[in-house]
């Protein structure tokens, strides 16, 4: 991977957003200094995908709203710790969002719900396909997912959107632990190359 090539915005909508992503990094630097207007701008830019991914993992609208609120306040609180050298602002925020959603899934109180979710996520690929409509980025993500082997695709979507640990994914797909680790990693490498090339 080219380390300079860490602009997540190319997934959002082409060249205009290349500039957009730099703006976002810049906005976050202002947020770190307590600039509330900059935070509003960050909020407006990212609330859609933050809520989207949390909702995808948690399903439940009110829990998703709660976690989205936590995540956005966390962005405000932790902005001084954002380090652009470690990746773009969008990636930083989405990592927080996904982690919080996963924490919620794995917390003891969600144990019961989780049983149901295992049944729910059996057709992750269709779901992804469903969610993918107008947007070119989604189109690109879908195309790249389509380029994976079935096990790669399923293990990535079960883990990322389904909120399952790799051990649970291995169980669901009846594959050994060693194999699932490799499938996930190989799948992500292919996705990275696929998303990066186009």
């Amino acid at each position: 991977m080219n380390p300079n090539d860490s602009d997540a915005s190319r997934f959002t909508s082409g060249t205009a957003d290349r500039r957009g992503e730099r703006d976002l990094d810049n906005l976050l630097v202002h947020v770190a200094r307590g600039d509330q207007e900059a935070f509003e701008a960050v909020y407006d830019r990212l609330v859609g995908p933050v809520y989207g991914v949390i909702r995808r993992v948690l399903r439940d609208p009110s829990q998703s709203e709660e976690v989205t609120q936590e995540v956005l306040l966390e962005v405000w609180r932790s902005a001084p710790r954002f380090d652009p050298a470690m990746g773009g602002a969008a990636t930083w925020v989405m990592t927080i969002a996904h982690r919080r959603a996963i924490d919620r899934v794995r917390s003891a109180t969600a144990a019961a719900d989780r049983e149901h979710k295992v049944a729910d996520v059996h057709t992750p690929h269709d779901e992804v396909a469903e969610a993918v409509e107008a947007s070119l980025d989604r189109e690109r993500v879908r195309r790249c997912l389509d380029g994976l082997t079935e096990v790669q695709r399923e293990s990535i979507t079960l883990a990322y959107y389904g909120g399952h640990s790799y051990r649970q994914v291995a169980e669901l797909l009846t594959v050994t632990l060693g194999a699932i680790k490799t499938r996930i990693r190989d799948g992500l490498i292919r996705m990275r190359d696929c998303l990066g090339v186009s």
């Binding site: 380390p3 933050v50 991914v53 909702r55 936590e70 609180r77 710790r81 989405m94 980025d137 990322y160």
Partner: protein, 253 residues
Amino acid sequence: MRLLRHDLHSLSGAYALDAIEAGAERDRFTRHLSRCPSCASEVRGFGEVTTALAFAAADPSTEAPAGLRDRVLAAVPHTRQLPPEVGVRTHARARRTRSLPWVPWLSGAIATAAIAVAVFFGVAQSHTQAELNQARAENAAISVLLAQPRAKLLTHAVTHGGVATVVLAADRRELAVVTTGLPALPSGQVYQLWLIGKKITSAGLLPPARNGQTPAVLATGVAKGDALGLTVEPAGGSAQPTTTPILALPLPV
């Protein structure tokens, strides 16, 4: 279970997807990442992939709820930001965290009960929609804190009367404070909370008491070695304490 180095490398994908459960395995991989630049760079690259997956999950039919924006923006001015990380602290004093004789170490459940009442007061005292939204946002943050399995309850007497009760989530660097029985202050004076460590920073003003109890105040960014302080300040609060603290409660972080 012993993991071979090769197995550790192959966990980079699972790590990027947050698919390693919390515990020894994830800790080991996280440590490995700090020593393995190529793994760290691989994980960074995978971060772009997961960002794309996140953006692909944003669906116009499941837009964020309308009231959320107002609630988040109302909470922002009352939420303390973390200080930036300035290198690794190598001189932090070794602290014995369980040796404070007057600190009762109670379960999170008891702490929850102690603060839940105060949280309720916060909502009950809200008169306007904006206040209510803010109280709710703070409650959400406090609920998260109370749900931390290792949250600790600390109580300490305040000089001149009253007791401060603190729920501390050390791993989140957050705490919530309520007080009971503090002497009422003349108008023009307020109680102000402080985090006192290498630097002294305001942790907010105590809201007015109701039935002798103040609604919960959330403070974030608690640093190693900090103590929670309380002083009497002119209305509106001060940038730095101007009177002798009537409470200095060491925080075991």
